[in-house]
Amino acid sequence: MLRKEFNEQLKQLLYFLVFVTAVLGLTKLVNLVSGTEMELKEIFVAVYQVGLLIFAMVSGLSIFSSERNQGGLEYVLTLPMSRYRLLASKIIPRLGALTLLYLLYILFSGLTGARGFSGLLPGLPSGMLLYAVFSIFCLALSLSLTHENFVLLAMVSLFTALIHFFFLFGFLYTIIENGFHRHIYYQAPWAPMTGFITILLPLLVAFFSAFKKYDISGSRGFNTRFRKVFVPMMILGFVISSTLVYSISKPQYQRYYLTQDNSLIRYNHNKATIHAGETERTIQNGEGIIKFIHEDPNYFYSFSYMTKNRGITRIDKKTLQEESLYNNPDFYFTHSSILNHKNKLAFIESSSGFYGKEYLVVLDLKTRAIKRISLERLLPGGYIHPIIFGAGEIEGKRFWLLQSEKNLRYPLVRIWENEQADFLDLSYRGPGYYNGLLVSADKEGLVISKLTPQGMETVKKFPGTKRLKQPYFLPKNLDFENTSEIYFYKNNHLEGSDIEIFRLDLESLALTSLGKWKGSLRHIYPSNYYLVKYDRASKKNYMYTTEIAIIKEGKITTIKTFSLDDKMDDQFSLSTGIIVKNSKKAWTYNLSNFQEKTFKL
């Protein structure tokens, strides 16, 4: 049975590939005839994505349709195997075919950088298509035996999938918190559990329990058994997911940011309250998401995305008045790769639409002049996810360093302000740029290079260091001219795990290990590095900081120890400091100036 199903799935898979290839050929033909220039790889990926979803749905719905159509169902049910084994022999080849098609998609998309419909929704996690494919398959499978009319079933499956995705994007969460709000996904990345627990899981459980007695008596008996399990499961799922979402989202709902001059900002996706000394001011941003990204002595900067106010807002530290610096509602998404170099703020933005074209935007904070540089022709073909990781000047000319992703490697490109670009390297790990030195990686390990007007020259290699994690994403500011040392780590910042700290001396280019540390490594511009240790407050179920140490010239010195305050409910450990809070007050410890402060909330 399994072999027969594998053969059938292989046939279906080939039909699918022939179909998408035919679409590709058709597109090429249209290009030739009409003189248009539809990008073939994008069309191919887009058709492939939609086709994959349809394939998943049809694959799930048609689990016994071939037997029904051929009148072979009675025969199949007499085969000497249990109902579940029969089901397994149907499901395994289908999952195999879907996995294979998905891997082909990943391969093609990875090689070409084409994103198809993902370009329309650039904020989606990369695994979203995978989840969509397998959830639609599971939904269709769960509904496949509830009725005999394929068209009706397809419509019901689509409708159920829509409801499922509606939940998936945190609709439930938004009802609880704010009423309908379409951007909630960004606030609640764990929201998928609502759709899964409330719809997908009950459907699957109901299907498998009803299938135990699957026979030829049609859908009526199946539905009775199906309903008996599904309805209570769905109610239970709704209650569980509501409770989970509410309990998890509640403490996360408010975010906090501690400025370097000791102002505390509480914010969520549409409101920010700034506590600065005795002054307090609330900024409403409609339906935008505010994220605090940068500060200088006079201002802090926020940006909002997926909103009518897509752009950069600056808030005066003295008056707490906000001022819009950049607003471009036509663009869909502004990456969080947003960095300042000598009063020029640079960030990446994506156009909405099929191809999701990306631009490097440079905003002069003094003159407000805006320069938008299209990355389409400047980055190597097939790039994805460009991020700015450095900036500098050579011979008085400013450049920005961008990394992108291609084939699990990181092409590094230097873009000059005159819109010229140099391809620098294909790094094996995320790069960094410090004091004129580019840190990238080849197969063996770290490579230090010096940037020249023409390109780069390798200065030193560190074979055997390939497992070091480099600062993938440098914080806040790119003026690293006076930095003499940087610190790396190895292993993850996972709770309870050790990291190994490494120091790179930018003058002597010596790399030394400073030993293990149970906690995380923090960096504050320009060259302050801290190590933070945590412990779990078992009764309150949150992580709290127990120790902060400063690292300077390879020496680790503890500067502050903390004990758990039972009166506090939560703690935020930010790059700028520590915030410990309960519902009435917040106590802060600032890493920029080591000041402690208490705020009334």
Partner: protein
């Protein structure tokens, strides 16, 4: 009495609100040939499909003897259910693998001169029945369940089918349970007759006992209603009355001439009686 090869205990089956099988308790013995008959919707096919595992009962149990594993239960449905897009070769390969059959005996296929690359859907009904019978025979089945298919096969192929069936019974001591309404061909075959009505067996007799247990008489007069009459044709010219269970003393008590009844008439009278009761 030999041990039962199939024991059916308290078997119930519903289709929605409709009771299809009503608390059936019955046993079948090894090598027995059983004919099940009854009106449309009596539950015959459903019973057979429950035995084959195609339908799962609401309650009750069906126990097969240890020798009859799932691979040894063969079922030929009235729809001759099979993969129609398969060629005969593919069908043989699939069936043999699924049922753990080592060698396939293609005598029947050779007699029909059926090429193995022909698709199942291209076969005539009779060819399909014989093809599927040859598949089932390759299982060396302990139990063979055959739904109503004989009436759709032409007389020549029907005879071939029956010979195949008889070979199987002789060779493997197979218990054959078949549903049939065309009794002319099968009249001599069944050892036991079961008649179903409303999801229950209302007659369960060995064929050898049947002539003594089932009689008919003719009478244009008013008939004694104390007799166990299954069905009567109340005609002023030649009223025909069927009696079950018949006892010898009835002839003396009533004065009627009780005559032997053919298998087909037994079944027809039960079905007729069922419809007559429904009309009342």
């Amino acid at each position: 009495m030999t041990d039962a090869i199939i024991k059916v205990n308290n078997l119930n089956l519903d289709f929605g609100p409709r009771k299809v099988l009503d608390n059936i308790n019955i046993q079948f013995e090894q090598g027995e040939t059983v004919l099940i008959a009854g009106g449309n919707g009596a539950g015959k096919s459903s019973f057979l499909k429950c035995l084959a595992g195609v339908l799962l009962p609401k309650s009750g149990e069906i126990q097969f003897s240890k020798a009859v594993t799932a691979e040894k239960i063969a079922f030929l449905s009235d729809k001759m259910s099979f993969f129609q897009d398969f060629t005969l070769e593919q069908g043989i390969e699939f069936h043999c693998r699924a049922f753990g059959v080592d060698t396939f005996d293609d005598v029947l296929l050779q007699e029909l001169k059926l090429p193995r690359d022909r698709k199942v859907r291209e076969l005539s009904n009779g060819e399909r029945a014989l093809f599927q019978l040859s598949l089932l025979m390759s299982q060396k089945p302990g139990v063979l369940l055959v739904d109503e298919i004989l009436h759709i096969i032409d007389p020549y192929l029907r005879e071939m089918f029956l010979y195949g069936l008889i070979d199987m019974i002789d060779e493997y001591k197979t218990t054959v349970i078949t549903i049939n309404h065309t009794f002319s061909d099968i009249g001599l075959l069944p050892e036991r007759l079961l008649i179903m009505e409303n999801g229950r067996f209302v007659l369960d007799e060995k064929s050898e006992d049947l002539p003594n247990r089932f009689k008919k008489f003719y009478s244009t007069d008013r008939v004694d209603r104390d007799l166990p009459i299954i069905f009567g044709n109340e005609s002023p010219l030649a009223g025909e009355w069927f009696v079950y269970p018949y006892q010898e003393k009835m002839a003396g008590e009533t004065g009627y001439e009780f005559l032997d009844v053919e298998l087909g008439e037994v079944v027809k009278s039960f079905i007729g009686g069922y419809y007559a009761k429904k009309r009342i």
